[in-house]
Symmetry: C2
Subunit: 230 residues, 2 copies
């Protein structure tokens, strides 16, 4: 199957955000809708999600955001954003893996960390990274890129201020990375930095761990990164 | 033994740079000497090192840099910088571990990566990170911090331009981190960012891997990082 990028040719592409009522999912849903994408928040509980989404989009000028159950959201999506905790990925993909459109793009933004006994630590992942773990559970005809792993959830969900940092992108093909970079580029103040194949995801996940460590140690909330020299 | 910081009380502290004729070691030796530290380049071959160092310090205004064999350099050092490739750490520490002064500080800046078949990849390290590998091979009375892992060697060795980025510091005590941060602070344009215990070193090593990946993919040389929001 020839791969094609989606976003450069289709500024109104359909994007499903799973886990759309968390800070990260909410922020991406609102920002993508504002950028002109057709956004559907997928939920296990669409009635509750509809209520949450109505709370954000109350103003008449807010762009519309649809709500559907997870399976329906994924089935119609050009891009599916997995904005759910890493610990819930396995049952979610068990349920949804046959729903994805062939040639559609999944975006992994999970970070495999634990906070056991107040200490943050990286989880070991047999496949090497959360992204590779997800790759192993998606059908081959669904493309996968990883991005939005290091941007603080709190900042994404807090409004529409420019984000003022870089966001790393890796993926299993040039086309998957180009689409993920196009998504990143839709968010004001966020620059995509292509770091190559999906096997780089572990390094990106470590950067998120470092940002969390910096937040905790320095009592701040929004540590994030800028690449200098690029 | 009560731990004490070295650098805040002793601006003329004795610093040994092992591997001082590589780009990284050369850059640190020259920059620390210029900042007023008493710098000794340690080498397996002092005659050859003396020739190399004379080449850098030819100008009458250059601050002096001593040369000694590795054991003599370490024996008199308040701070020993391990500016050698990760692959050479084991035999080096086998030879030198009894030479370190009690209470002195070792600085690990190694990065466990390989470039087999043109592909850069992180090496697995049984102890978790290169820093923890080194910790396991140093006497308990020698303190250890890790820093200067992400600043590009090429940039460090290229002159005295401000470095314009952040450098991550982790270590096995508050005092070790404070000393390492003070060393970082001696280099114009470099801001130390304390990320906590030595167990964070693996995340820092992954950042270096990511910087190398960015350099190779984008055909640049000096990718490095700035923390935004701190």
């Amino acid at each position: 199957m020839e791969e094609l990028t989606i976003l450069p040719h289709n500024p109104g592409a359909a994007v499903a955000i799973l886990g759309g009522t968390g800070q990260q999912g909410r922020g991406l849903a609102q920002r993508f809708a504002r950028a002109g994408l057709r956004v559907t928040v997928g939920s296990r509980d669409p009635a509750r999600a509809r209520e949450a989404v109505a709370g954000w989009t109350g103003s008449p000028s807010a762009p519309p955001i649809q709500v559907a159950d997870n399976a329906a959201a994924v089935a119609t999506a050009d891009v599916t954003v997995l904005a759910v905790p890493y610990a819930t990925i396995d049952p979610l993909l068990d349920q949804l893996r046959t729903q994805f459109k062939a040639g559609s793009l999944a975006i992994d933004l999970t970070v495999p960390v634990t906070f056991a006994a107040g200490k943050m630590a990286m989880l070991e992942v047999a496949e090497g990274s959360a992204a590779e773990h997800i790759r192993a559970r998606l059908p081959a005809e669904v493309r996968l890129a990883c991005t939005f792993k290091t941007i603080p959830a709190h900042l994404l969900g807090a409004g529409f201020e420019p984000l003022d940092c870089d966001e790393f992108v890796c993926g299993d093909s040039d086309e998957a990375r180009a689409d993920a970079a196009a998504l990143v580029g839709l968010l004001p103040g966020l620059r995509p930095v292509d770091v190559g194949p999906l096997s780089r995801a572990r390094s990106i996940e470590h950067m998120t761990a470092l940002a969390i460590a910096i937040n905790r140690r320095h009592k701040i909330h929004d540590a994030r990164f800028r690449v200098v020299g690029l």
